[in-house]
Symmetry: C2
Subunit: 346 residues, 2 copies
DNA sequence: TATCAACATGTAAGCGCTTACATTGCAATG
DNA sequence: CATTGCAATGTAAGCGCTTACATGTTGATA
């Protein structure tokens, strides 16, 4: 009996079932206080009984707003963005907005494609990661009047950003490493193509090394995808050098843990034979042995701030266009002094 | 000049700009071969120039299909589902479908809410995790005629499933543990409320223990959320017992790694003083020292199979209603024999 | 009792798109 | 040359919803 029509029920069906007009049903759903309690009950009962859910498309079409915001992150395969995104979405939902997440696989073309998909789905605003993307992509968003904020770094252009200074943070860490006595550094960097965070971190380390008078030959850099495996592989490569680097600075914690694993396999003690640093301070960093010396990024705060900024942009409130989130160096177990015998080239 | 109207362009705008009817523009976008090349070029140029993207709502409304499927996973905060979801979406996109992901936080009410959100957004089908949910939720989907498949386990009801036998896999692992000589087991289980995977794994271990004549008192079970921290806390709790368990079986790898960290803090060697097992074989398992003995779940294959099944359901092709993905025990470093002196109660 | 708020509800016009159907133009055919 | 068939394009009717506006109902007031 309930199964009268096997199609998905529409507003009309509900209206008929409740003996009211579609307008009344719509009001019950959107501004219940405009409808008298008795009617409302009748309507809600019908809604319940028919298993009615409003059609988003119709609703968006008619009301010209979606209460949806989109986020395009490079990858979901990885804890880096998970934490920040979580608080981003929590903040959003406090404002009654829904989050749609898409991933680009670090590919600008796919990022653009996802922009169009989200725009088409009516996203009121977008969260993007970083600022390295073709001019045409941002131009597209501007044309459509879709506000967006970049996160995870501070952009250089004229957009809105909530992030931190990857370059400065990496430089500070490198300075500390050098202050510990290291002169032969190496770096396992993230892949810098269209990834300003990775590029900035590398640049920071390079700058600090140069400032300390370290020759570029004493700072080999290998770029690796953010996986344990690639980190391990790069580490294997770096450890072939003679003399070996006394410290390997990694573009993020995942790489560092992969490197650590390889060090273990090669019979190298960390930090006795080789020191290691990470970046991000994801949970993982505190769970390996020894724990990772790394840079903490307050992901939750960043996600929250990004959500607030985006909402302000959407509602056309004034915003501070650039919010910097401070980072902190977390000293744990993987950074020690260089080996006593390793100061001299062999 | 390009900025003539600052509103988002519509099909109409494009049609006017190209000097054709809306129908022709629509055809250019959806079945280009029905339009002669010359016209098509003119239209595409206008599309490009105006920065037009079709409005998803309008399109869904008019064509009554969305080419969208939804997935509701308990959490994104965690690598467990990432891998499987990734291949799920890759397979989907090979069939021209878009994936919308939502998370429930292991809460059936929020899962239901997300079902409605996705249904409203026009999802043609849904991927759900497991089978533990109120009857009313599945009833809702059936009423709306939205096909769904459960993954990560084999359901008992009459739905469609792609998964593995959590109970049997856990039991097999426990049998192996017991065969190694362990008699004092403990378990850090996932929280079983509305989580059939966690419940099944616990049940499997319990059954194996019982079959081996191990007293329930020699199998304490603590439930913990899937975080390093909670795993560590539970481990701390379990290690207070006297005599201590000689092995702690964990509901997943994250818990096991947390437990391992706590063991280290307590000065207990793994597996010398206490053995550990995990479940899932996520990347993490191969990266800690010693590496985790665990159960491998072929997540990629599962995601792929789930996508294929769902597509068949959507297109009303016949399907095998239950696909079992085999699991394998991966023996690595965290499971050893019990301590020599630990066979006797103190 | 007539009048008028104030409120509850109904009516109907689109929102941007797809698509069945109608129209047009043109080449091939009788 | 009239006819036919086909390919390319146009016309217009909705898809399910919101909302401005119209209408009806009530109770208080003059």
């Amino acid at each position: 009996m309930a199964m009268n029509e096997h199609a998905k029920p529409t507003l009309d069906d509900v209206a008929r079932a409740a003996g009211v007009s579609t307008a009344t049903v719509s009001r019950c759903l959107n501004s219940p206080d405009q409808v008298i309690a008795l009617t409302r009950e009748r309507v809600m009962l019908a809604v319940e009984r028919l298993g009615y859910t409003p059609d988003f498309g119709g609703r968006a079409l008619a009301s010209r707003r979606t209460n949806t915001v989109g986020a395009i992150i490079p990858t979901m395969d990885n804890a880096i963005f998970a934490r920040g995104l979580q608080s981003f979405q929590e903040t959003l939902s406090r404002f009654g907005k829904t989050l749609l997440v898409a991933s680009s696989g670090y590919d600008p073309a796919r990022e653009r494609q996802q922009m169009e998909a989200l725009a088409g789905r009516g996203a009121d605003g977008l969260l993007l990661i970083g600022s390295a993307r073709p001019e045409s992509s941002t131009e597209y968003l501007r044309r459509r009047g879709i506000p967006f904020v970049g996160a995870w770094n501070l952009g250089s252009g004229d957009g809105c950003f909530v992030g931190f200074d990857n370059r400065a943070a990496a430089a500070r860490l490198a300075e500390m490493v050098i202050a510990r006595g290291h002169r032969r550094l190496a770096m396992i960097a993230g892949i810098s193509y269209m990834n300003d965070r990775a590029a900035d971190r590398t640049a920071g380390v390079r700058a600090a090394a140069e400032a300390a008078g370290i020759a570029p030959a004493d700072l080999p850099v290998i770029e690796a995808a953010y996986t344990f495996e690639d980190g391990a592989r790069a580490m294997g490569e770096l450890m072939k050098a003679n003399p070996r680097p006394t410290v390997v600075m990694c573009g993020n914690d995942v790489l560092a843990v992969g490197a650590m694993q390889m060090a273990r396999e090669l019979g190298l003690k960390v930090p006795g034979d080789v020191s290691l640093t990470g970046f991000d301070d994801i949970d993982l960093a505190g769970v390996v042995d020894p724990k990772l010396t790394t840079v903490r990024v307050p992901h939750r705060r960043m996600g929250e701030a990004a959500a607030e900024m985006l909402i302000k942009l959407i509602t056309k409130q004034p915003v501070e266009r650039r919010i910097e989130i401070p980072t902190a160096i977390i000293e744990r177990g993987t950074l020690g002094p260089p080996r006593a015998d390793s100061g001299h080239k062999g």
